[in-house]
Symmetry: none
Subunit: 411 residues, 2 copies
């Protein structure tokens, strides 16, 4: 079975809101083994919605609509579908009662246009709205199915999870499951990853392997199809192992993992504390770490040392280091990492110094970066980077490289 | 002219990412006076993409594609459009050179599949990619125009703003007739803003006034329609003045202004320097400030003082203050702001201390916050907040309130 998701609402076409409903439903349908081939967004306009319905009928078995079920004149999804399919609308008494109860509860007068929300496509199966007024519904007609869901995500999501999923499972002839796993990599480009895995990607059909780049990282999505969930999982395990034999050194996590979380969990597990000297990153590294609940268990704190004066006065970087090598140097990165670790009395000190951009600065081009890592056993390392992005790309990638080197050090 | 936005990428249909590109482009097109009637998302599949192109050709004058311009085998937007239109692809030497330079700069080997990114639709106008490798392009063919943009928002957005908008303006027969201006407010809720402006909003038709809330801020979008840009601007000026007479105390900027930028520009203009003591915000405040080029002109630096030990040892907060009032107190916020200002020898010191959440912490609920502001003339102020969000909502809103109070102080 394949589906098309049709979002109805002029606010989408004006760019006032993002279509997060399509993402949510797509993710849910993938788990149910339903292919999604298209998303469409269309405004509150009957003629254009009708055209979208006609196009989708030619290419999908299941049409899922979001939005346009409310009380106002703009809300015309039901009316247009009914018109397009040559069916009628009927009052659903249970839905009407629940709308009346809602108005009594909030002590507001029910205006007549609210009754419209209780109208359903005749002969459709009602999907109860437990977080709002407009009910959803599923209509089977000829060889197609039409599911109508409300637009507000706070109503749509629980309705889909509680009632919509089951209604779709009932529609499905067979129970093939799509099971996906995302592997996350850092420190390797998309093209290089694909080149190294070329043979595997080409020859591999179940699961399939799809690379995706974004935010300076690369992910591989493994997607297995099988009636048995256990077998799907073992197919994924097998291919994951093959992938990691080739590019395992760049792998850091699964699905929605982030470098920050993986690094934080490692520090926490090993009961290690961290302090930071941030010149280039200017607080970004610590700001990301402290977004995680419990960050105080590993982060003691740090210094944003945006000026040479601060590097000298607070972090005791030698005047001679700054004069001889400048602030953007291996020597400065080492001193910053060592001295912040000592000042904050932590197990690990990490430092970031470089030219974020626009550059050049003191003769060095934008993207020139040094990361320092000082361990309590006395070892200090420094890593150079030459980044090619703009100011904020460079800052964000530097923070990620900080976690990358820290994770490698702790592995 | 009306447009359809076609996003290409299986990751959209699998629900891995949300189609934020369609939102961004729609918003931009509205300002240009271009109607958007449909959004379509389609996977990395030539036959289905071809079908989407055929459908869109029947209902739009301008087809804007995002995604599928990268180096891998999955990336087939150019190839499919070329095939569908019966045109060819040509190597763009300038784009090729810039890709080669990129690889040299980052000192990585360029794999052959990267060359594919420099192929363009023959006779198209190239839109330069200043934040990545794949160029965008615009092709006029018969009575349609086809714009191809890269998928990553960090590349697509600046490309569209710098080159795409102008290319569309060149396509338009008549000059833009819709002119918008966004007024930005902080410290007032959407409902209150709408109530105070109710009469104005209801009676005002050109420009229209549309409130929108998001990210703890409220904006008003004024949209004027007129053939003359000058008259549209004067209509906007007039209504802006009326709005600010009522709610001017909460106004801080226009369009894409941010509190950070407005605050930074004020400090810069007055040649004032800033230092920060961040407990609750953990680097977030400085991380945002240092995202702005030239931040070093105003920010000397600061301390992330996540632990009481750090507050005492590095920022000289009195032991008795922490014992008597705790770290989340007016007294602690004052000492942090004063002491960081002295330690870093700046004109202004700002401090953030509070319970981000999950709470409660030391008897105070999550969302309890104190912001301290110390000026070089000796005045110190402290502002309490009681925020109702989750951990990261509270952190972000606290950073915004920091700028809000700083801007008020400097105004």
């Amino acid at each position: 079975m394949n589906a098309e998701i049709i979002a109805v609402g002029s606010e989408l076409l004006l760019g006032q809101i993002v279509n997060s409903n399509a993402q949510f439903i797509s993710e849910q349908l993938a788990d149910l083994g339903v292919n999604v081939y298209y998303h469409t967004s269309v405004g509150d306009n009957p003629a254009r919605l009708k055209h979208a319905i006609e196009v989708a009928q030619k290419r999908a078995d299941l049409l899922i609509f979001t939005g346009g079920l409310g009380p106002t004149k703009d809300d015309l999804t039901k009316e247009t579908i009914s018109n397009s399919l040559g069916t009628t609308l009927s009052m659903d008494n249970e839905a009407l009662e629940s709308i009346k109860t809602y108005f009594q509860r909030v002590n507001r007068e029910m205006t007549p246009n609210n009754e419209k929300q209780a109208l359903i496509l005749t002969d459709s199966h009602v999907l109860k709205n437990e977080n709002g007024m407009a009910p959803g519904m599923l209509l089977k007609k000829e060889d197609k199915a039409y599911m109508l869901l409300p637009g507000p995500p706070s109503e749509m999501r629980p309705m889909f999870e509680t009632y919509g999923k089951q209604a779709i499972l009932n529609l499905l002839q067979k129970k093939e499951v799509i099971h996906s796993r995302v592997l996350r990599f850092f420190g390797i480009g998309e093209a290089q990853l694909e080149t190294e895995l070329e043979e595997l990607i080409v020859n591999q059909t179940n699961p399939t392997i799809a690379p995706l780049a974004g935010d300076g990282e690369v992910t591989l999505r493994l997607t297995a199809k099988h009636e048995s969930r256990d077998i799907a999982v073992s197919l994924l395990d097998k291919v994951e192992k093959e992938v990691l034999q080739i590019v395992g050194e760049y792998f850091y996590g699964y699905n929605h993992d982030s470098l920050v979380e993986v690094g934080f969990n490692m520090l926490k597990k090993k009961s290690l504390t961290l302090s930071c000297a941030e010149s280039l990153t200017g607080g970004l590294f610590q700001g990301q770490l402290t977004s995680i609940p419990g960050a105080s268990e590993v982060l003691s704190g740090g210094v944003v040392c945006y000026q040479d004066e601060v590097k000298k006065k607070i972090l005791s970087v030698k005047e001679s280091t700054l004069k001889q090598y400048s602030a953007v140097s291996e020597q400065c990165a080492r001193e910053l990492a060592e001295n912040v670790r000592e000042l904050f009395a932590t197990d690990i000190g990490i430092s970031f110094t470089g030219v974020a951009g626009p550059g050049p600065f003191e003769g060095q081009p934008a993207g020139t970066v040094w990361i320092g890592l000082s361990m309590k056993d006395g070892r200090t390392k420094a890593f150079p980077l030459n980044l090619g992005g703009g100011r904020n790309g460079n800052r964000k990638r530097t923070a990620k490289y900080g976690w990358h080197y820290l994770i490698k050090e702790l592995s």
